[in-house]
Symmetry: D2
Subunit: 337 residues, 4 copies
């Protein structure tokens, strides 16, 4: 950590900073420059109260040298992590495709979708049983009934299941049915929920908050991992910007950036990132080209009749076509699908 | 609702849209313009599946005429709502000041702060017992012990208490001690938590998500109100932008904008909105000048020793000085403090 | 255009709106809904003063049905435009790669770079002679001397030249040497400059303003085209968001989105969009996978010695490696390189 | 400047960094921490090529200690600068109000407005003769004819004139008529224009780019000042965010933040910052409460007939009312109006 003193900081103020650092069992190294004094701190800066340093008289700013996370970092583990769900490996050579409707609506809908996406080559079925909706009057999901239908679709097709948990009280329930638990964008900093999924032994798909920096996403993953669950998959799903033509702005930079910051697998959600079905295929291809380990895509046998996200949902035919295109991109980057 | 058809939409596509609207018991009015056809919908558009319309063939876009919320809107209630906490009225003539430390740390700290802010003129004591921290290794609050210390500070000073609830399982516990429950920025779209505080009979201070539009903030309030609890106070606390000099960007426009969109009271948090103690006083004054019903400010007897947010926390002396300045602004806008 | 009246708009206010529309030779169609009146306007809404309508008493909001641009739109021209620079076609089957240093520094530097990027397969040489730098004390470019060196590099290698013009008074000068004139992100709404490059007969590479919506980018292109120059290439180069790990956030959605909004070719600048050399290759590949017609990449024989943008510049070896990878992606999406 | 080496940086890489710093005549101080080596640089870091350092092998990141601007900084001049326009002092005790129409439309319009705003207490008349409009088909201003009408309004009322210059070729022309030259938000990084207004001897009102950080705004001012013109007034006019209810988001934090970063006066434009006439008055009051030295407000005798920005323009009556309210706020913060 580097403490930059104000230009006119008094000797006493500098001494207080040095003392405060020493009290925290770290070694301060004052550097008297031409314009101001800078104090470098030797030791593990993560133990320091950065806010308190900033609040001291004579301090202009404090700059962090180390990242505040540990378990998620490349420094903790150099090799890419592979998250396993049965036979499926997320973070390996194969591109993993998760597909299915925004919400589970009925047995026929989910089974038809599962069969179609399985046939097209998807390995994991997505579908919401508990839906976080912006307004209280929108369809909130089928709840446990939806989970049961997902399980039935798994029985029929052999696909694994990923589904969202929104309530800390439902973690055990969802874990009973799901193969992967999804934490949605709105809950990326719902710390009780992160801690709770950190205690189960199933993989977690952690979506980036639409306002969150890479660092904050990694700290959210750190919350889960620090509870013991090391099976975390990161998901870039678009951030909020000033552009309104699309629902969100996919931050494609996040894919290679996260890959250099962490050992965790990274997947991309082109459906929410665009909010427009016409953009889903090109963005899914871009994600794989950029190095994503997988994609998660909204598919419905009859998108016009979907109860939510209809305008960003592919039909099963459109999805099958995309899978063929994705396969070519996967091969072009030396992977398979 | 207005459905804009594509320029080259086929008659059959237009007919399908008309039919779909009629099936939802609403009246479509097609308008054939020079370049394209537009379909206006007469009736309460809130019942329509907007996504499904958008997904229909030949549809270019769908524009909403009405807002998707009801209870929070001026249309539901023209007169400003007053939220009462004992003798204190939020949303009336008086500017309400909530002040106290970021986190409750010890009995001495909270009681000393309470006495000081009470003396300076604050009506409500703030202080976190459950702290949502970006990283898992930071101080997470004293929990129920912190709530008890807040209650003790209330007993000693007569101040009312506002404190955050972060876990849906803690709502009853926090409600037992607090006079106002705070929903923090990260939880603005934590729907189970919103529903749960919607069922209690204590006021809720709802902070704007740092990514949330006014409309989404109002929909979050609608979640609470639709469960029965009508005592909601909105809080602008800064949004996330590209500027990094400050911790967040206070959206001062939100104060008069929300006042024209809703009947609910609006307060401002200049501490989190700036993240810098030197900016807190001018921004608090701006908030009152813009029409805010109150401010919530971080104060600590010894900011340098605060365990969190030290760099944005006023000392009790600085706070007392600010209160005198705020009083002048309050009077300049025809209110009192 | 759709005028939404306030819920309690008076008959007289509605009548004034109708009259005002008729005065502008358009046909108003009032629709009296259950909650409020909406007035649809039949005719070319682009002639209307939207601000004046918004300012009328009783008007709540005005929603545009048509886009405010014409020449750039798919409605003006359905087929993709091909911009030709000698034998090179931008917007055709072939992916076009523009490569070279941020700034022209010396004859040796630019000729060495030109030879290397030519050998690796680039068709166009980039290099700045006039540099827009954030601070006045940074290197501002070699000026005309730089243009001459670019021309010399063209003579030696046969590569075409793209270079930025920042001053309206330099348009003729730059056009004398360059094959394509670049308008940089900071000048996307420098209207005198747009108009001036609209009068020349050389293609213009128009970079998206880092704050600009797709619509604003298209309106900037419309400025150029409305002066007579129809040879415009759009360039997505990253927008400004809250993420600070990268220099900008590449809006990959822009590629397919612009492709459905306009007939103009779209290229991507992964160097500025990321600001980090380690991210350039994956993002370049993503761009091609998403449907971009080309990429523009910073390359320097010795990046560490580059006078600007050193940290986002590829070495010639890294560039040659990327070209091989890009070729595979191009083929995977049915194009060539 | 602080160079943070990668965790596994080789000794040779560290030595190269040290050597490179020494070659630039600065003194490197290597600090070998527990996890990585950090190199502090003693001396004026502004001469260093930061990009080149970042590009060196083994370097993880480079952090700046000093700001890259000089003339605008508090370090260059501690006391607040006062910009004088005849008798008017911007940056002194008095709050300065600039008011007038978005665009000069006719002699009657501008003279009527001038008289009305003068009567209400404004000291400076605003009005656009050259208008930067997002689309090429919108009214672009009366040009020199508009400047002459502004001059006539000055003759009639004694008000000073502020008007925008958008073309580097018009600087002399505009300077012939105007008392203050305005650089609009879109041109904040139009460096040729900044340099040109840096060479005249009239004050410049520099509006913040809607995408620009405080640092970038200050660097734009530095461009002007480094050419010799020290009479710069900064203007916060709203930044671009995700909120769409308002035209822009006024960054009220900018007022006190800029005041602590620079000695230059700071004014606020509530008209563009909100885009809604109903929000102009509360935001103008907030600006003064936050410490702004003045405000610039759009006023028109008949807003509905204004050719541009009608929906954010106050009538002369509304403006007169606001002036009375502003006076009370000015007094509440110890200033006058």
């Amino acid at each position: 950590m580097i403490v930059v003193m104000k230009r006119n900081a008094k000797k006493e103020e500098i001494d207080n900073v040095l003392k405060s650092i020493e009290e925290q069992k770290l070694k301060p190294v004052p550097l008297h420059g031409t314009e101001r004094t800078v104090v470098a701190i030797i030791g593990d800066e993560r133990v320091i109260h950065i806010d308190s340093l900033k609040a001291m008289n004579g301090v202009e700013k404090v700059m962090e040298v180390l990242q505040p996370y540990k378990l998620v970092s490349k420094e903790a583990k150099d090799k890419p992590s592979k998250v396993r769900v049965g036979d499926i490996v997320i973070g390996g050579d194969e591109i993993i495709v998760m597909a299915g409707p925004c919400a589970v609506e009925s047995e026929k809908q989910i089974i038809d979708t599962a069969k179609a996406v399985k046939k097209a080559g998807a390995q994991i079925l997505r579908g919401g049983a508990f839906k976080p909706r912006t307004g209280p009057y929108a369809f909130q999901g089928l709840g446990e009934e939806g989970l049961k239908l997902l399980a039935k679709a798994r029985d029929v097709t052999g696909l694994k299941i990923v589904t969202e948990v929104v309530d800390v009280r439902d973690v055990q329930l969802v874990a009973k049915y799901a193969d992967i638990l999804q934490i949605g964008t709105r809950n990326m900093q719902n710390y009780p929920l992160l801690k709770e999924v950190g205690k189960i032994n199933k993989p977690v798909l952690l979506k980036r908050g639409m306002w969150a920096t890479y660092k904050e996403l990694l700290l959210a993953a750190e919350y889960i991992m620090s509870e013991g669950n090391r099976e975390v998959i990161l998901c870039e799903r678009g951030i909020r910007t000033f552009e309104t033509y699309t629902r969100n702005t996919l931050d494609i930079n996040a894919v290679p950036a996260l890959k250099e910051m962490t050992h965790l697998p990274v997947v991309v959600d082109p459906s929410h990132a665009t909010g427009k079905k016409s953009l889903v295929a090109p963005i899914a291809k871009a994600a794989v080209a950029a190095g994503a380990d997988g994609v998660i895509i909204e598919v419905h046998p009859n998108p016009e009749k979907a109860v939510s996200d209809a305008d960003q949902t592919l039909s099963t035919e459109e999805f099958a076509k995309l899978m063929k295109e994705l396969k070519l991109i996967a091969e072009a980057v030396g992977r398979k699908l």
